[in-house]
Symmetry: C2
Subunit: 333 residues, 2 copies
Amino acid sequence: MKKLINDPANVVAETLSGFQAAHADLVTVHFDPDYVVRADAPVKGKVGLVSGGGSGHEPLHAGYVGKGMLDAAVPGAVFTSPTPDPIFEATKAVDGGAGVLHIVKNYTGDVLNFETAAEMADMEGITVKTIVVNDDVAVEDSTWTAGRRGVAGTVLVEKIAGAAADRGDDLDAVLAVAEKVNSKVRSMGVALSACTVPHAGKPSFDLSDDEIEIGIGIHGEPGRHRIPMAPADSITDQLVDPILADLKPAAGTEVLLFVNGMGGTPEAELYIVYNHARARLEAAGLKVTRSLVGNYITSLEMQGCSVTVLALDDELTALWDAPVLTPAFRRGV
Amino acid sequence: MKKLINDPANVVAETLSGFQAAHADLVTVHFDPDYVVRADAPVKGKVGLVSGGGSGHEPLHAGYVGKGMLDAAVPGAVFTSPTPDPIFEATKAVDGGAGVLHIVKNYTGDVLNFETAAEMADMEGITVKTIVVNDDVAVEDSTWTAGRRGVAGTVLVEKIAGAAADRGDDLDAVLAVAEKVNSKVRSMGVALSACTVPHAGKPSFDLSDDEIEIGIGIHGEPGRHRIPMAPADSITDQLVDPILADLKPAAGTEVLLFVNGMGGTPEAELYIVYNHARARLEAAGLKVTRSLVGNYITSLEMQGCSVTVLALDDELTALWDAPVLTPAFRRGV
């Protein structure tokens, strides 16, 4: 294992320490328990947005803390859910009196721990509602999940619900926007290589030199099947087609196309995938009106990508375009 | 070789096609010869900035085309200098009557081809001046270079000179700012793994499972030496200390600290390196007042990073903070 780390036990703490120092203008990191809040938290009268989950998916979630997106992020150990305590502390820290929305990727540990934290907050008089994101069409149930997994669609939920909170929507309205995004977004990923969790010290699964895994999870959980290495266009079809079969967007629908790198993929390859995915969507009669290409939800140094399609309407487009100012995502502020 | 590509011969063209489609609001891509200009080029009365070089370092350079940074980028084949023709065409396309600055990383092929393009432009009455960036302290001369190599400092030259042009500086003044940045910036990198050029099909060099290369070049050119894998803090010291020995900043100097990922490095590891590099700079009496952490100049899927230190003054800080709106770098627009 070659990684730019010191002690595997200190990976998250040292990452957060560097993150705090680099972005002190935008965020404040609390240690022990670990959570990240926007520097001006709590924002009085605004719905607070809290997300979190295992580390190793950076910039998700701490990179999205700031105006127009999340109020707090709660990082667990690498690929390990945070416990209820830091989620509860983060929830308290960002409650501005209008309630708090928990944005949870659908993994069993995350769902349970956010639920417990919400109950703890409720006992202190903080209203919490929860959106569980489950956009991955690859598999129903999995090693870590009941139902579908929450993957790259989470970034879009965080951006768009964050914009809704920023414009002053109340908790029910922000939840409704988040639910709308979750109902209209689908994703599927592919791995060309595995990744290595620092404290494990060896790759999380084995892939031979000439095979790839279609439908991979963001922790390397099994996907749909393994196939021999293939041209990018063929791989892209095998990601886009299941998304379209599941989402069933009407011809003429405006969509956001998001090609996400898993952490170890050259940016050029993401644009090659984007190029063909876009052509495929257009051939299906869809209009790609918004785009996102880059490393937004990663799996350590895994090579591969995911494709995400969000069916837009005027409200979602306007919220997508709204200003955002976070360490990893900024526009128009 | 597992890559998300189709034919290796089409990697750059398909990347540019996807890039154009994803960022049509910001850039216009010209094909055959290939170059990328900002969508509103030429900007009348503004000095035009043109950079370029071999592909494989994305988001450099095309990702930095837009308001407040580059007017054009000229991508060659992967790790191969662009020929004079597209550089000349890009130069013509962005000349707004105030002359054009070529920003060239110090590699023999780039320097020669930009020089030829500048002569071609001169014959058409376009004044071109050139800054050759050579910030890499690792080696004097190298397999591809006479003198020092141009690496991550190029991103800072492009941002800061771009801001100077954006505020209306004339060509000599923009050149002077670029030269000031180049005189005050130093970088050094480390590779944990090699990268594979698509048309080569095999790694550009061999590194054993327990060794790393200190002072690596962005094309995998040899650095200073190979050492056994070590903790991140020790590796970071071996990047920061040669930078400080060469830059010799006075105690109390304000600096920008830039930790750049080579393409295959998890973001968390970059923050771990940043964390220790910052402590090292502060221990040397410097004040880290600006920061940049992420994949800004890559080497395909290479694992590793570089550290860059820029000694700031009030002018450079203000230009660094100025608005910028490009596909890969945006702030305050």
